[in-house]
Symmetry: C2
Subunit: 133 residues, 2 copies
Amino acid sequence: MEILDIGDVAERTGVAVSTLRYYDEIGLIASVGRRGLRRQFGPEAVWQIALIALGKKAGFSLDEIAGMFRANGTVDLPRPVLHGRADEIDRQIRDLTVLRDALRHVAECPAPSHLECPRFRKLLRVAGRRGKA
Amino acid sequence: MEILDIGDVAERTGVAVSTLRYYDEIGLIASVGRRGLRRQFGPEAVWQIALIALGKKAGFSLDEIAGMFRANGTVDLPRPVLHGRADEIDRQIRDLTVLRDALRHVAECPAPSHLECPRFRKLLRVAGRRGKA
DNA sequence: CTGCCACTTAAAGTCAACTTGAGGTCAAGC
DNA sequence: GCTTGACCTCAAGTTGACTTTAAGTGGCAG
């Protein structure tokens, strides 16, 4: 259970084999070797891929993700860069919170048009400010 | 200042004219009319587009965003659907929090390899759980 | 009335992130 | 030893979200 075939990795992560090959191709993940032609991965690949999926879901491009974590799963970026990324994510969390609140509000507010509701307008103002920045 | 040319909307929102035309084409926004050939928008378009930008930044597709807000800026989806969307965003916020914490941890943790650090492994476990769901 | 310029359309092009397809390889089970 | 099936490569195709291009239109300043 130390070394995994690409198919095993696919099964454990829920990521398609073709996608894993693609990630390997672009250097986002790295196989530990080959058995014949077959790529073999160490068990840490599963964690790496989970992180990649997380980053993707967070709206980061594969390039940006590659900039956060190395193919071997380690990170050796300067701290300020990492903190910068974290701050970026924090901003995104705040944006999402606005969106979520807007949605929840819309689900509950009895105003005839939401554009007339002061609470909704306030949410939109926040959205506008973020948009322009 | 009631009615805006597409160029004015572009300027106020920071979104390219071609993009606005594209949004119009796919029914994501709606012009209130034309002056000659020129599309005209009401001032609410600015808020709508801010919301679209917000949703995009949050990683939603234009289709998904279209499913949240109508072209005219109002919403008339059933409440459970809206709450479902909000819950989805909540999950995403939690995911982002994991990613942010992982990043911040990596920036600070002195462990030789992060894969050996128990705190990091715990973060990854959370990531793994989310990935499979 | 003329020219300008921001707009118009339709179609084609671009980019990221994959997926699909055709044809090939190899280790394992029968 | 032969088949099977999961893998391989390389190229081409797909999708979403736009942007670009070419050719045209029309309101307004001079």
